[in-house]
């Protein structure tokens, strides 16, 4: 038995709030691992992704739900795997699956996730999100990087009226406040 033990305390742990039919919550145990495709080894890496997750790496700006993991393509050579995993070894899990065909970096604690959902959630996002989130312009599974209230945000449309928002974990409080205020202002 080690003398000391560490306790996990992610920012916004347990946060779940509903205002005027819009729900904002911090999903628990979300692991994020970045994948970088080696120069010249892209095909092999993509093949490894496909065999590991049963889904091809989507096009840029798209995501795909593959089993319990969501693959999000962020750039020509960069993607995220987002999945439920609480242990602090998410990177090792993904690296193992990809059999070292791609470079991986643990991004779990770099980000804080907030899921906003409900009929009026697009109206709330309108106050801080510069992107066009109209259903025709931003379909389910689409993903984009943007800025909300000075904070860099990765936004993924996860459902008809549901979005997963990822922003820097150090400014989680500001980010949550910005969304809470938007919900309040439209509800």
């Amino acid at each position: 038995m080690p003398e000391f033990s560490l306790i996990s305390a992610p920012p916004l742990a347990g946060y779940d709030e509903t205002l005027g039919g819009i729900r904002l919550r911090a999903p628990e145990g979300l692991a994020i691992v970045s994948i970088a495709l080696p120069l010249g080894g892209e095909a092999a890496a993509e093949k490894a992704v496909k065999s590991a997750y049963g889904a091809a790496l989507p096009e840029m700006g798209q995501s795909v739900l593959a089993g319990d993991a969501r693959l999000v393509r962020l750039g020509v050579d960069q993607a995220f795997v987002i999945f439920d995993h609480t242990e602090p070894n998410a990177e090792g899990v993904v690296a193992g699956k990809l059999k070292d065909k791609a470079y991986t970096t643990d991004q779990t604690d770099v980000w804080v996730g907030l899921e906003i959902s409900g009929a009026g959630c697009r109206e709330a996002l309108e106050r801080i999100c510069p992107l066009d989130l109209h259903p025709d312009a931003f379909a389910v599974n689409q993903a984009a990087r943007t800025v909300m209230e000075h904070l860099g945000v990765l936004i993924i449309r996860t459902g008809e009226a549901a979005y997963l928002l990822l922003s820097a974990s150090s400014s989680a409080g500001t980010f949550q406040h910005a969304l809470h205020q938007s919900m309040k202002n439209v509800s």
Partner: protein
């Protein structure tokens, strides 16, 4: 007060009565009224005092162009000055006061300035207050300032909330008048995403104010019908009370929505929203503004724009007078006369400047052809008018029409210049419109209803077709092309009395002529010299008349004189709306370190470092000031062990087969041969050879590096590396991703740091000096299998480590380190102690890497490798940058140890005069060194490396201080680095 001037008809809801107050007096109105229409209904003609001469003024227009009827709305902290009564929607309990008077509105003491008007011509400040010179700042200016201005601020914080937002559409239609409605309807039925915005609370534009018909239906009814259809369509966003105030690049428009201004209370919701509208295309249907004619005493309450008089009668069921005369230079003025008589209001005369037959029948009215109004009488309200033929006609309202100006403002926001049209005697949008914008209706010079409707439809169709959108066929209803002939007639030359051009800034015809005589002949100079068009109304009713008069005086045509440049905003935007939510603590984001909670619970004082909040020091009982805490933290760290959260330093994960080569190119010193498991200090140069960031990079694996940057430059370095990777060397296999927030990193420094870490790091890792020497790094396990990274690096100069765990364990890690360190009396230290220790050790930081210094200056010239290709190494060798006598980073200690040093002091040779010619360099960082017992400093001094032991004067003229200092090594503590390697 009763509504003596309320007549039949209109769009107000007479079933409900609203009580409001003006200057404390209770009055009544109805829903659908503006404050202006309700004031007129109650016979309140005198509404305010003018800016300069304190002349009595009344309601002049019925829209946002209003120059006169400015009031202070609401009270207390909610008080808002300079609010146009013509745009304020009446609500129960509204309270307004008039402004710009001393004593009651009716008996303004400042009206004496009107008698002094001969001395107050344009530019009078510059002419009158020249002497004595010393009086300007102390006397003239304060007096002028106290009497200038209109309303007063509450001087309290604005209690309202504001918001911002982003909207997107295929077609933005600006203005919901006939052409705007037609454009929006066409686009909406075609299935396009449409935003229709109008500044009014009732869409319809002039259809609400006039009696024109469409397909046999009243214009206002057609507007209501179209609006009802649009509101129900999911592809349409109808935004009333929304002013599109600016046209920006890429089809972006700024709009201000007034959400709760028409309510007594905002109910905790944002009062106004500043929208950024991203449009693919836009149709500007902003309508036109009627302009006055300048004649003697044309500013009296009761002198109004003819179109406005018509609007009050038709839309609000209010007549501004019972005996009205109309003075016009165009056909449209006649329609006011006709509408008034149709409503049973007596029109006593129609005075047409043109010698032509009546445009229409106006029963009971005298038609005076080819004449003009020369003067008026009536101090607080017009009583009679005097015509050029000498006739005096008693009236209580004079409706004036000098023609209509298309509202071209938004077409000019990207430097477009409007073009003159002789047939309209007006400017219309010019050739270069903002990309994606089309103009329709009166804004484009289509002044008649049928033409406006047709153009609204045609422009929408063309805009959608340009987007490859199929366009639905919308039936164009039969409408009138009403007579709109106009003549050029700007001011009544026979008039000897003062004739106002710009009523809000009190600029008269005489002022415009004077400006021309004194050489201010460019329209831009005219504006600035006379202040014409510079008030909150931005000269909407006055600009064209002003430049027409200037043209006349200068013997030029109006297009030769041209207009001033129209800039956003179209109408005033409150500062609160521009600020939005960004107030107080919400001005910018806050970043918290992983151990923030622990720090809060343990007496930390926080300091803002960029967006980060960092613990500056941790106060303990009995400590009287910050120095006590900081000195203790330094001493305890140097004596045993201290712990500091250093998470804020930028961390960049670098992977790839060519990562080592990449690092070798971006750092000035060599990185190609850094072994796995080792860390190296690196210096980055800009392309021009100036040092811009430093940090350490650890090689975690053959193809895996972890770079740290300074806190301040984390983003800049990442961005530059991305640029280098993507643009400079795209053939290298290198991948970057930030992990700054992902790892909680702690410096554990001091002679007992190893012993402390041995308790936390799992036993299988050998931390002995042999196994894990200075500059070693590696992945380890802590607390029984928790992944962590360990680096043996030191900023303090002590034996030190940095240990990183996933950020979510950071707060707990701080607890663990403190608990494990209890037996060593471990101390948490903040950024101040960190700073003291780095100065004692002679490490450069932001003060030294200030964007002007080179590696040569920093004493690291030899680090810049000339054997490889790397950013900045070539230009760093320019002769001026490698001068022998360049400033060098050195240490400084006071000759008298009791004397403190000040950062920013300049060094002067002992016997030289303290001036810039004798400047030898400057002090960059200072601290009190608890280890040495006196102040120490770092700084740059010429040829510093050859001047050790020399005594210099450190001078701060700002503080009036001077200290004798000795030039010493920058490494005050452990210059040989024995502690680091222990």
């Amino acid at each position: 007060m009763s509504q003596d001037y309320r007549i039949g008809g209109g769009q107000v809801d007479r079933t409900r009565e609203i009580t409001f107050r003006f200057n404390g007096k209770a009055m009544q109105g109805h829903p659908g009224d503006t404050l202006a229409s309700a004031l007129l209904a109650n016979g309140q003609k005198l509404v305010g005092r003018s800016f300069k001469y304190h002349r009595p003024r009344g309601v002049f227009t019925s829209g946002s162009e209003e120059p006169n009827a400015l009031v202070q709305l609401r009270s207390g902290a909610h008080q808002e000055p300079n609010t146009r009564a013509t745009t304020v929607e009446l609500f129960e309990g509204l309270s307004a006061t008039s402004q710009n008077h001393r004593g009651p509105l009716e008996w303004d003491l400042m009206a004496v300035t009107d008698l002094m008007s001969p001395f107050l011509s344009a530019g009078f400040y510059y002419k009158t207050f020249m002497w004595p010179r010393a009086f300007w700042e102390k006397f003239y200016e304060p007096v002028i300032r106290s009497s200038a201005g209109l309303g007063r601020l509450s001087m309290q914080n604005d209690p309202d909330q504001y918001d911002k937002g982003f909207l997107h559409c295929d077609l933005l239609v600006v203005g919901a008048g006939p052409s705007g409605l037609m454009a929006a309807l066409t686009a909406a039925r075609s299935g396009a995403r449409v935003i229709l915005a109008d500044e009014d609370f009732a869409p319809g534009g002039r259809l609400n104010a006039e009696t024109l018909e469409l397909g046999g239906m009243a214009g206002a009814d057609w507007a209501a019908q179209v609006v009802a259809e649009l509101v129900d369509m999911p592809n349409v966003r109808l935004m009333t009370r929304t002013t599109v105030y600016g046209a920006y690049d890429h089809g972006i428009y700024g709009a201000l929505e007034r959400c709760t201004d028409h309510l007594a209370e905002s109910g905790g919701k944002p009062r106004q929203i500043l929208w950024r509208i991203y449009s693919k295309r836009a149709v500007l249907a902003a309508g036109a503004t009627e302009r006055p004619i300048a004649f003697g005493n044309n500013d009296r309450p009761g002198v109004m724009m003819a179109g406005a008089v018509r609007a009050y009668v038709n839309r609000f069921g209010v007549t501004p007078g019972h005996h009205v005369a109309v003075f016009t230079n165009n056909d449209d003025g006649w329609r006011t006369a006709k509408d008034l008589t149709d409503k049973g209001v007596e029109v006593v005369a129609v005075i047409d400047s043109r010698d032509k037959p009546a445009v229409c029948e106006v029963p009971g009215a005298r038609h005076v052809r080819g004449a003009a109004v020369m003067d008026t009488v009536g101090r607080k309200g017009i009583k009679s008018i005097t015509l050029t033929d000498g006739q005096v006609i008693p009236v209580d309202c004079l409706a004036v029409s000098g023609g209509w100006n298309p509202n071209v403002h938004l077409t000019c926001h990207q430097r477009g210049r409007p073009e003159w049209r002789d047939d309209l005697q007006a400017f219309v949008p010019g050739g270069a419109l903002p990309p994606g914008m089309a103009v329709a209706g009166a804004a484009n010079g289509q002044m008649t209803l049928a033409a406006a409707l047709a153009e609204g439809q045609a422009q929408a169709k063309a805009q959608l077709e340009a987007l490859d959108h199929t366009v639905a066929n919308v039936e164009l209803l039969q409408a009138e092309d009403e007579p709109r002939e106009a003549a050029a007639f700007w001011h009544v030359k026979d008039s000897k009395k003062r004739a106002w051009v710009d009523q809000q800034n009190d600029v008269t015809v005489k002022d415009v002529k004077l400006a021309n005589r004194e050489g201010f002949r460019s329209v831009e100079l005219l504006k600035r010299y006379t202040t014409l068009g510079m008030a909150t109304d931005q000269g909407k009713t006055s600009n064209i008349a002003g430049l027409a008069i200037l043209a006349e005086e200068a013997g030029k045509t109006i297009p030769e004189v041209g207009t001033t440049i129209f800039r956003p905003p179209y109408t005033p935007v409150p500062m609160g709306a521009l600020g939005g939510r960004a107030r107080g603590k919400e001005f910018r984001p806050y970043r918290l370190t992983p151990s923030h909670k622990w720090a809060e619970e343990n007496g930390a004082t926080f300091v803002e470092v960029g967006n980060w909040l960092r613990a500056q020091w941790f106060v303990r009982d009995g400590e009287k000031g910050w120095r006590d805490s900081v000195d203790r933290e330094v001493e305890m760290t140097r004596n045993s062990v201290g712990i500091c959260d250093v998470t804020t330093l930028g961390k960049i994960d670098i992977q790839g087969r060519d990562a080592a080569e990449f690092l070798n190119k971006v750092y000035a010193n060599g990185f190609a041969k850094l072994p796995v498991g080792k860390v190296r200090y690196g210096l980055m140069l800009r392309e021009d050879g100036i040092a811009y960031d430093d940090g350490t990079t650890a090689r975690m694996g053959e193809n895996h590096f972890v770079m740290t940057t300074t806190t301040a430059n984390a983003v800049v370095v990442f961005r530059r590396l991305e640029f280098a990777r993507q643009c400079l060397w795209p053939n290298l296999d290198v991948h970057l991703i930030s992990t700054t927030d992902g790892w909680a990193q702690f410096a554990v420094a001091g002679p007992n740091s190893r012993k402390l870490l041995q308790k936390v790091v799992d036993k299988e890792h050998d931390l002995s000096n042999e196994a894990f020497p200075f500059m070693a790094c590696g992945e380890v396990m802590v607390c029984g299998g928790m992944p962590a990274r360990l680096f043996r690096i030191s900023f303090s100069g002590e034996m030190a480590y940095e240990i990183a765990v996933p950020a979510r364990y950071g707060n707990s890690m701080m607890d663990v380190l403190m608990e494990a360190g209890r037996e060593f009396d471990a101390v948490p230290y903040g950024t101040e102690a960190l700073g003291v220790m780095r100065i004692e050790k002679g490490h450069a930081a932001g003060n030294e890497l200030n964007g002007q210094t080179t590696a040569h200056n920093l004493g690291m010239g030899r680090m810049v490798s000339q054997k490889k290709e790397c950013i900045g190494n070539v230009l760093s060798q320019r002769p001026e940058m490698v001068r022998e006598d360049a400033v060098k980073l050195m240490g400084f200690k006071p000759v008298n140890p009791a004397e403190p040093l000040i950062a920013g002091m300049h060094f002067i040779n002992r016997n030289a005069v303290a001036n810039m010619d004798n400047d030898q360099g400057w002090m960059t960082s200072v601290a009190y060194s608890p280890s040495l017992g006196h102040s120490i400093g770092l700084g740059f001094v010429k040829s510093g490396d050859t001047r050790k032991g020399e005594i210099l004067r450190a001078v701060s003229p700002v503080h009036g201080r001077e200290v004798l200092v000795e030039v010493v090594s920058a490494h005050f503590i452990d210059p040989e680095g024995e502690r680091l390697r222990a």
